[in-house]
Point group: C2
Amino acid sequence: MPDSSAPNTPAVILVEPQLGANIGMAARAMLNCGLSDLRIVAPRDGWPNTEARDAAVGASRDIVERAALHDTTAGAVADLTRVYATTGRGREMTHRVLTPRAAGPEMRREAAAGKKIGVLFGGERAGLSNEDVSLADTIVQAPLNPEFKSLNLGHAVLMIAYEWLAAEDATDGETLDLGTTHVATKAELENFMRHLVEGLDQGNYFRAIEMRPIVVRNLRNLFQRAQATEQELRTMHGVVEALKRAGRDTAKPPKEN
Amino acid sequence: MPDSSAPNTPAVILVEPQLGANIGMAARAMLNCGLSDLRIVAPRDGWPNTEARDAAVGASRDIVERAALHDTTAGAVADLTRVYATTGRGREMTHRVLTPRAAGPEMRREAAAGKKIGVLFGGERAGLSNEDVSLADTIVQAPLNPEFKSLNLGHAVLMIAYEWLAAEDATDGETLDLGTTHVATKAELENFMRHLVEGLDQGNYFRAIEMRPIVVRNLRNLFQRAQATEQELRTMHGVVEALKRAGRDTAKPPKEN
């Protein structure tokens, strides 16, 4: 019985899968991406399948255990309103063909509109039959290396499930993981630069005085480009002092010169 | 020796992988997406590994056989200018974090600019150590189901390799696979509609004559929305004639009435 309170997510339908390990890996990929409705049509090694359960890890074992077994592909798609067929090769049929990247947002729109969606995946040896493909509204074909197009079954499920997930993902493409600190304010950066340059002046670093502003600017750029944090600048203050101490302590006592 | 005529593609670096099967599956995923530079750091079961070779299929076995073995992660990244670390969990370090979707285009830009790129993947049990992560410029973290984030190693490699591939894929998101036919011209569609409606008139289908234009329009919409091909319309011409024949042949001879 479908749970009407559950989100409307696509069913994954494995048609005549051969290896239990691939069924388990498909379940794992599904749960990684928030899917849970697994349907299996005429698995070669019967059902239940211990290898499938073993290959799925942790909570994805529940997906294997709750998978619906069907005798025919037609039976497995009977309650669906929108069916996609994944295939790596062209068919002698007129069909809409989507890339996985285009299929993700489309599936999201359809699910939001209340359609019940399923995606067909063929068995390891020969993929989907033309008969199976003809039960689908649309083909999904990944633009892979033309000389090596055949995806592992679990990988194919991951790719589609991942596109479903990514189509509504709102994570920033780029973030800075800061832990408990913050990127240094400009005042904190200037404070450090002052400390550093003071030490450099003491150490007689700027032999050509006209280069001083350029070198200072380049050093500032380095810490700025790194988005140095307040914590890192505190560390660097300590580094400056430690290097000065190192110079002092290893300096030969003038007496022995 | 790097082949300077080969395209500049990212290296995949598996750090202390445990299962040979996962190494083989990673190689398969790499070749699916056009990658070939596999490096392996201190694999648990030694090297070469028969299971790795067996799990890779076809040409991806070459990738396993040519994989470079390293004792340390630092050694495996020594020739690279840009290193990404894949991880599912936050680290106590300040780091740039990209989604795989954002990492794909960035890796393409960097490769185009001549940078040599590598992506680190941790072992099955614990992922990358903080030590390994600190060798990387940037973290890549996939926004997965927060309650089930751990990806299989081969799946993780596929996800990154696929984003590399997809970032420069120029395939139309949606196409119509037509084989040798074409979507019917409007003249071909009108010709079929004339034939169909003529048959419907003969069959006395339009009992309410004021509904005729509306029903004809709805039928036209159906074939138009399907983007019916010239070949399909030829088939439909035959269907119309066959149905008319069926009516004629099963009609009781008037004599016997």
